[in-house]
Symmetry: C2
Subunit: 305 residues, 2 copies
């Protein structure tokens, strides 16, 4: 039999996942989950691709922010904006996630959704991770792609539920993870429909619509998907509500935290990385029935190259 | 060859639809649309089921409103609430859509999403349309179900984009139209995640999140689907923005208005039904390239029984 998860080392995590998939898809078995209820949700930053020392979208904002500050100097009063313009990663890493992401989203204001898509695509084509020294697009985790493929092959519908901007993540989700735009749920800015010469276009406004983190992830799952997921994967306290919501349903359930404990191949961080802390989730994982995947021990490979 | 649309009379509308589906799915042809871009959006009230003299959800609110007014008598100051309590259909029919729907949504506040689902399911099981004198659940249009089935059989992904409450429409969408919850986009109230004894539940708040009508339909299509649809079907001015957004994209496009001109089998209304007026859409249909389906002439059957 072929190994559907070749980048996963044999061990408790891999066995539990393979067992879950097998028993929930065995027709007539006690743990069978009907196909339409096979909803899985994955966080993106730090769960499907590298988020350290800053989330990819924050690097994108760093590249865009100077243009925006020229248009509106009053933005400089916000700590995250100032730190972005100064390229002060240390300060950015120490701020709460929403304080960094909200200004990051604001760097896209004024663009149409199509322009934003083109801009992000262009930037992503060349932009490199400063520490890993390779394109951001090469920083998706191979073991997770294998897991997504396995779940889909068994009739699971895979969703991303991300604190990142929904349009930004959609730019990469199909290629990197095989996930179509309509299965990406994320943070969003308000938009305005314009009825101009070029036809009807949506323009992004500098006002946050939804910051898709913590409890808001659950609200957005209800709004966009309308079913309680049966399987969830995250890597920070921002995913804890979504994970607990998943586990609280009836029938077979499974949820995982990815633990970044691999300084050699990626990074080692949890409690002290303010932009994406794993603290409460780690302390309560056992009590709450959340599995912990060790990047170091459970994966024999992290990236494709 | 079997007729995929037996409830549609032969004529311009049926031919145009069959031709569109054939040429957009012919691989190698000039109008071929890749499967992942085959997104279609249907309005619900008045497009997929009967909405006259009031939308089904407003009838549901009529049944719920007295309980709510006892809890909070100040609600009686809103005209729609007062009309609901008095059973004053005439006044309700004369109010703008948002003024009727917002109080209707408020009747569900305080329930968990699961409780709301159970409540609506229970009510729908027995509630009857006062004029057609049969269950609301029997008021879906057979020709539209045939069209949805045809589109899906040809690789189209069918969405409902409704001004109705997203949870309400999800209760019926799978059974009546074969559309799963995650493909229903609608109006929504804000929700709050509660971490109680019974596990994590979402409770509906008496505050509107999104009123999914007119331009907001387009914003929500971008947010939930992330692709511009290629085919749209509506029946009121509330659908015009979504229809125009659909038609404004590149490549083959198609959009329709259902015209309620069948007083014998359903109802005849357009300009003067304030809760769902078709006025601008009708005046500009030809200019904008929107087809008009006559319920009377294009359909040989309206309901299943």
């Amino acid at each position: 039999m072929t190994d559907a998860l070749p980048s996963w080392n044999d061990g408790a995590a891999k066995s539990a996942i393979l067992d879950f998939v097998a028993r929930t898809t065995r027709e007539g078995g006690p743990d069978f989950i009907p196909p339409e209820q096979r909803i899985v949700v994955f966080d993106n930053d730090g769960t499907l691709w590298c988020e350290f020392p800053l989330q990819v979208q924050v690097f994108f904002a760093l590249a865009e922010v100077k243009r925006l500050a020229q248009q509106d100097p009053s933005l400089l009063t916000k700590p995250a904006f100032k730190a972005m313009i100064d390229g002060d990663l240390k300060t950015l890493m120490s701020l709460p996630k929403k304080e960094v992401f909200e200004p990051a989203f604001a760097t896209h204001a004024g663009m149409t959704v199509e322009e934003f898509h083109a801009n992000a695509t262009r930037w992503l084509r060349h932009a490199e991770h400063p520490k890993l020294q390779r394109p951001f697009l090469h920083n998706a985790y191979v073991p997770q792609r294998e897991l997504l493929d396995l779940l889909r092959a068994q009739g699971y519908k895979t969703y991303i539920v991300t604190g990142g901007g929904v349009e930004f993540v959609r730019v990469v989700a199909e290629t990197l993870y095989g996930i179509p735009p309509e299965q990406v749920v994320g943070s969003s800015t308000k938009m305005k429909l314009e009825d101009g010469e070029g036809g009807m276009v949506l323009r992004k406004l500098p006002e946050l619509g939804s910051f898709d983190d913590r409890e808001e992830k659950v609200v957005n799952i209800a709004l966009h998907i309308g079913r309680r997921p049966v399987f969830a994967f995250g890597n920070s306290d921002g995913d804890l509500a979504m994970i607990r919501y998943t586990l609280a349903g009836d029938g077979p359930r499974m949820a995982w935290y990815l633990h970044h404990d691999d300084a050699a191949r990626e990074f080692a961080y949890d409690r002290d990385f303010k932009l994406s802390a794993l603290r409460e989730g780690l302390d309560r994982a056992a009590e709450l029935g959340i599995g912990v995947v060790s990047m170091k021990k459970d994966w024999n490979r992290v990236f494709a190259d």
